[in-house]
Amino acid sequence: MNLLNIIEDIHAADPEFKDRISPRRAAIKNITSFGTKVAAAALPFAFSTLFKKAYGQTATRSVNDVLNFALTAEIAELGLYNTGLSRAGLIPSQDVPAITLLRNVETKHVEFLRRTLGSNVNSTNASLSFAANTPNFDYTGNKGLNTASTAPFPNVFTNYDVFLAVVNAFEDTGVRAYKGQAPFLLGNQVVLTAALNIHSVEARHAAFIRRLRTIRNTSLTIKPWITGDGATASGVASPTLAATAAATVYAGEAVTTQAGVNIASFVSTSAAQESFDEPLTTDQVLNILANFRR
């Protein structure tokens, strides 16, 4: 089998083939990593992956699309932390170090994504601010409207428990968002691995915030993991506007069957729900974020 001949043959049939597999294409930017990091035994897959990347479903959503999408979510999250930390008296002094650590790590994620995208940062992300009191986001969940009666979280920066509930919602949305994007990065050693390495950190943050909320409010029945959906998952049962807004973050989390396997036949229904976190689609995430955009 002569690979060079095959590439020439394909090129004759598809003049764009060489461009499709060119390292200039972001989708296969990691191809040099295949060369240096993947042992020969695994390399047959490198070639099949090359074809998958040239013609596969990833074409509908590029690596840059995924990274820009992640960057938008991270900027929104970072603005929330920065604004919260800027409000005197909101965060109890004993919690400031932990919240600051989470903020600092989110800052690293934003910097990492911006650096990775380089000149491919899209115009939306280039225009967004994550500074304290960012003008781009309305963390009351009211889309920048002045009608206080329609805000799900009007006291997000004056009531610490509400602040934590909103942070919780953002972190869990982040976990579900990265999970939903992973298939678009299938086989991409560099970018998929980086995305997974952010995904698990978001999950660590979400679990920590959920634990913190239950330490502060012992009547709250949420756990570090997600039980069911709706208020059971969010820990926000009232007022109605807040409960509805928080519930959208957990749509689809109550499933107990995975790849046709009934998990509830092994453990309790709640454990079956908790043991697998569910992804959100791109549109579901954008709809959640839209509630917080001005």
């Binding site: 690979l3 295949f34 020969a40 490198a46 990492f112 990265y178 999950a203 396997v261 697998f276 976190d277």
Partner: protein
């Protein structure tokens, strides 16, 4: 019959891999050439090692890798709950029971999904762990959870099926939630540089299957796990 691969030639000639790639021109073409050569080697089949459990090739190897780690975690928490450490609080018992159930769910899921392709049940060896001591138990719990997260993250790119990748993603975030909770029980920082590069890019430090198995094998009796095709 073993076919001489490009890799063998490079090794014999002592030619650095990097300079070979440069020599061959475009990285994509070079990777393809090596891939072609090694695919000839594949016809030799997997050489079975009677002294080890080989996790195999392709997505089945990744799934068996996950199945092995989940077996280890499930066995650990099952013992934690059946012989709880001294003065365990209700809160801690409830959390650790939940985690045991999650790990059992993961183990049984992989067993059912792999069916006839599953590796055999493993025999854990937890002789290093003092199950009567809270700090010992929680420290090992933290180690197992951090290892699990690093393992799933490090193997994700090896998965060829989008469905399997999503399933791995569904599980790894739950392992990360466990890791975070255990840290709060131990009263230590939520993240530190040995696990998440707090002072770097804020990324989890994923690990290769080889490094993970070196650690996992320390908690197994009998044949060690090997995954020569997972790299």
């Amino acid at each position: 019959m073993k076919t001489t691969t490009q890799e063998d030639v490079l090794a014999k000639e002592g030619m650095a891999r990097r300079s070979f790639l440069k020599f061959a021109g475009a990285g994509a073409i070079a990777a393809g050439v090596v891939a072609t050569a090694s695919s000839c080697q594949k016809h030799d089949g997997v050489v079975s090692d009677p002294t080890a459990i080989d996790l195999g090739t392709g997505d089945l190897a990744v799934l068996n890798y996950a199945y092995a780690l989940e077996q280890l975690e499930a066995a650990f928490y099952t013992q934690v709950i059946s012989s709880p450490y001294a003065n365990i609080s209700t809160t801690e018992r409830n959390y650790l029971t939940d985690i045991r159930d999650h790990e059992v769910a993961h183990r049984e899921f992989f067993k059912a999904a792999l069916a006839g392709n599953a590796i055999a049940a493993l025999t854990p060896n937890f002789s290093k762990i003092n199950f009567a001591d809270r700090t010992s138990v929680l420290s090992y719990a933290k180690a197992f959870e951090d290892l699990g997260v690093a393992a799933y993250n490090g193997a994700g790119y090896l998965i060829k099926s989008a469905d399997y990748l999503t399933l791995a993603g569904k599980i790894v975030s739950v392992e990360a939630r466990h890791a975070a909770l255990i840290r709060t029980l131990l009263g230590i920082a939520i993240e530190e540089d040995t696990i998440v590069s707090v002072s770097g890019d804020g990324l989890e430090l994923s690990q290769t299957p080889q490094k993970v198995l070196d650690q996992a094998n320390q908690f197994l009796s009998g044949k060690p796990l090997i995954a020569p095709n997972l790299m």
